[in-house]
């Protein structure tokens, strides 16, 4: 039963109610850091971590929290978790921290996180909330990675560049497929176009599937 619940939450987070693609939450970091795959992966991991922990903590304390003060408590919990995450990134992934810059502390303003606390974790058990956090976090992280992958490929002609930011050591160039690319993709408008393409693709795939089921 737990396995079934896990699969159900993962499907919801990754596809059906993907925070970025369907709920369109957390767009500021989504659009700002996805100029490369590694940046997307880094912020994705950080968001996944914060979202999962905040879901678990909110769910664990939900019995004692009065309705009137729930929002300040969510903010408190999320802000503390983000501060811890930022310190951990600074200590163990300094290069990645430098390249994500202000967007690590800004996870605190990612509405996807407070939305999950309010809509799910405050009404469900700890295990379900843990699964929900993992599912939603993974959905957000995968979208960040997909958009980072696409923009890096189109805009710079490379893939997985600067992986040293995650693993340390010598600078890594990644796979260089072309010298330079279509600049627009790495500029801010490219982020909007990429997200629009991703949303359109999802709607297209969903649209294709529904008629097939009805017959």
């Amino acid at each position: 039963m737990i396995a079934g619940q896990f699969i159900e939450r993962m499907q919801t987070g990754l596809w059906r109610e993907n925070p970025g693609l369907v709920q369109l939450l957390g767009l500021c970091p989504l659009l700002a850091v996805t100029s490369t795959f590694v940046n997307g992966l880094g912020l994705g991991i950080a968001t996944l971590l914060v979202l999962t922990c905040s879901n678990v903590l909110v769910s664990a304390t939900r019995r004692w929290i009065l309705a009137e003060i729930r929002v300040p408590i969510y903010v408190l919990i999320i802000a503390s978790l983000v501060t811890c995450t930022e310190l951990i990134f600074k200590a163990w992934f300094p290069a990645l921290d430098r390249s994500l810059g202000i967007f690590i502390p800004l996870i605190v303003t990612n509405c996807a996180i407070v939305a999950r606390a309010e809509l799910f974790a405050s009404r469900n058990g700890i295990v379900a909330s843990l699964f929900d956090g993992l599912g939603m976090g993974a959905g957000f992280a995968l979208l960040l990675m997909a958009i980072g992958f696409f923009r890096e490929l189109v805009g710079k002609g490379s893939l997985f560049a600067e992986f040293d930011k995650l693993v340390g050591g010598e600078p890594l160039a990644g796979l260089v497929l072309a010298d330079g690319g279509w600049l627009l993709a790495v500029l801010p408008p490219g982020a909007f176009f990429s997200l629009a393409l991703a949303v359109a693709l999802k709607n297209y795939l969903d649209g294709n599937r529904k008629p097939a089921r009805q017959t």
């Binding site: 951990i88 300094p94 500029l187």
Partner: protein, 210 residues
Amino acid sequence: MIPRTAKGGLTLAAIAAICATLVAATHRLTTDRIAANEQAWLEQSLVPALGDVDYDGSITETRLTVEPPHDLPGNDPAIIYRAYSAGTPVAALFAVTATGGYAGPIRILVGVNVGGAVTGVRILEHRETPGLGDGIDSSRSAWVHQFDGRSLGNPPAGAWQLRVDGGDFDQLTGASVTPRAVIKAIRETLLYFDAHQAEIFDMPATAEPE
């Protein structure tokens, strides 16, 4: 028995205490690593601008802050790091701000040896357009390397400009505003070094701000 507001306040206080403990513990666990990382990052970003100059000791410990107004580029405090070899000055590194860039100030690092020649130039911080002006960054293009070994007389004063402006230096494809700002800042730094060389190396290090 307990009124609702008091109960809410107590819950909030309890959770705030737990959260504060969590943050404090993480902070304790990471401070040393973070300080070491920052020190290493600073050294690592300074050394390339010294080229192949031989020096001893730690370059970050010879830090000297020059408060504005000063004759260096930019209107904010400039930082000078001095490199010595067995007590003799060999080179100085200037962290200065180039104004007149396309998108805000550009922090640049200029290394100058005692002979007045540039040992290296690196861009520390900028917000220039990706793909155009960001070619000043040594990780994007080799543009900054054309300054290695240059000095006030090489090229002569009038030629410290971009080729399009009748000078001696290459521009970047599609960007001329950014390179102009950088060239101007390098030249001003060299002029400052020429005028103040003796005092730069004699002044005691400024204490690190806490």
